[in-house]
């Protein structure tokens, strides 16, 4: 079991969370060229090692988190709220 230390609820089993994929993906402007949208929607670096990814604490506070996890060892090195404004609030 992975244990994710939710900044709002504390450390919980990963089965309380929903995986949201690669957090380094950013979406282009709506009128950006198709090529930019293709990159954002389909192309992934899929690293073997440290990975920045989104998880939602769906059975808890329901907030989206950014988790840094190693895709080989599964070790979680960092968990933070996905919205910077929330990071400020919990300081």
């Amino acid at each position: 079991m992975l244990r994710i230390n939710c900044p709002f609820c504390g450390e919980r089993d990963h089965s309380e969370f929903t995986y949201g994929g690669d957090a380094t993906v950013t979406y282009p402007a709506l009128d950006a060229p198709t090529e930019a949208w293709f990159e954002a929607v389909y192309v992934r670096s899929n690293p073997k090692g440290p990975h920045r990814e989104r998880w939602q604490h769906s059975d808890g506070c329901r907030l989206w988190l950014i988790v840094e996890r190693d895709t080989v060892t599964h070790a979680i090195t960092r968990v933070e709220p996905s919205r910077a404004v929330l990071s400020e609030l919990i300081k």
Binding site: S15, E35, H74
Partner: protein, 418 residues
């Protein structure tokens, strides 16, 4: 190399003469016409068909471990072709036709057992939807039979038919020509047959980079030195993105874990391969040794760990006993995980790449085993003629950019949901 036959068996039994090794163990040459990276089922099948059907025998298959050590030995051995979308239907049907004669073709018993596969249906809506799928299959010449509850009770008596069943059985959709094959025998058979045609199978040879000459790929750097080739093909299952990265390609693939399970051997209990696609995902069959072989969903997060996690074990166990309560006290013998390269539409890629001299076979999600013969055939066709076989035209790498995805599950660009 000794041809396997009843007569050869008798001769060796009487004379006590030892059997020759199944495939040669050559040192890598400096240069080949074609290099295939990855000695799994797909890579070996590609090499075999290159030599057999397309006349290219100067081929090396590079395997980082030993033959059978990767996903070729980690799947649940199911072979079926009950697909629905144009492209997928024809491709998997071709594969099934190759499976039918594979043991004779390779002179190696792959123990293909077309015992029939049944998709369980748990509601009237599922029955309607399956009737549509079955009709589409039949229209493509693939056998399909819609079963009602009474037929299911006769064919698969150990499912939960009680009034309080968690998943009431309304019927099933059967593909009578589907079944299982022995996965180790498939790689051994292809390796032996390819080796006999002159293909060099190089084990313990990990590719660490590509050699470039004027922008094109001209060979590979390996743990056993540099090997040059006019054409290089990738067929590496879960690590496709890593090989792509070495060539400067960023691919529409994520690597995910899929777990599988086998129980202690039981007496004959289940005559068919059973699939469950209701609220959850589960499939089960009984091996020739008696073990119940089953699996479920992905672990749902990117991973290269080859090590599964407990929530999926719990979900799979819950589905197993919900569908077949008699399994409740059966003990698990082994449990493992493999790394799947999940594409953005759930379909595979057999394609040229933007890099000259480099060809890609990957993104098999968790449907790779049944595709082995057709995958090898189509990839060999592409590498030999620089033109895709008509069956693999829809599976080109550029389909994502063109919006021509083949999304059988209809779940969109989220790899883990396919």
């Amino acid at each position: 190399m000794t041809r396997y036959s009843a007569l050869a068996l008798l001769k060796h039994a009487v004379t006590g003469q030892p059997w020759s090794r199944a495939w040669r163990d050559p040192a890598p040459k400096e240069r080949y016409q074609v290099i295939i990276v990855g000695g799994g089922g797909h890579g070996l099948a590609t090499a075999y068909y290159l030599a057999k059907e397309f006349g290219i025998r100067d081929v090396a298959v590079l395997e980082k471990g030993y033959i059978g050590s990767g996903n070729a030995g980690r799947n649940t051995t199911i072979v079926r072709s009950n697909y629905m979308l144009p492209g997928a239907t024809e491709f998997y049907d071709f594969s099934l036709r190759l499976w039918n004669t594979l043991s004779h073709e390779l002179n190696f018993n792959v123990m293909f057992s077309p015992r029939g596969q049944i998709l369980l249906l748990h509601s009237p809506d599922a029955l309607d939807s399956a009737a549509r799928r079955g009709n589409i299959m039949r229209r493509h010449g693939i056998a399909a039979r819609l079963l009602d509850r009474a037929a299911m009770q006769e064919l698969v008596p150990h499912l939960d038919y009680s009034p309080g069943a968690r998943f009431p059985i309304w019927g099933g959709l059967m593909q009578p020509t589907a079944g299982t094959a022995r996965h180790d025998a498939v790689v051994w058979g292809y390796a032996r047959a390819a080796s006999e045609l002159g293909v060099d199978i190089i084990q313990n040879c990990e590719v660490t980079g590509f050699v470039r000459e004027g922008g094109r790929i001209a060979g590979v750097e390996t743990s056993r030195g540099r090997i040059m080739a006019a054409k290089t093909g990738i067929a590496v299952a879960g690590h496709t993105s890593r090989l792509g990265e070495m060539a400067g390609l960023c691919l529409p693939i994520e690597s995910h874990l899929l777990q599988a399970f086998v129980s202690e051997p039981l007496k004959p209990l289940l005559d068919y391969v059973i699939g469950f696609g209701g609220h959850g995902h589960f499939y089960i069959s009984q091996s020739d040794k008696g073990g119940m072989v089953f699996g479920g969903d992905l672990d749902m997060y990117n991973s290269y760990a080859q090590r599964g996690n407990l929530p999926v074990v719990r979900d799979v166990a819950a589905l197993a006993v919900s569908l077949m309560p008699c399994l409740g006290r059966v003990r698990l013998l082994r449990h493992w995980a493999g790394v799947m390269d999940m594409t953005m539409d759930g379909s595979h890629i057999i394609s040229k790449t933007p890099v000259d001299g480099l060809y890609l076979n990957g993104g098999w999600c968790y449907g790779g085993f049944k595709a082995t013969p057709a995958s090898g055939w189509c990839f060999a066709h592409l590498m030999a003629r620089d033109q895709p076989d008509p069956l693999s035209v829809p599976f080109s790498l550029d389909r994502f950019a063109r919006g021509a995805t083949i999304d059988e599950a209809g779940s969109g660009p989220t790899p883990r949901l396919h």
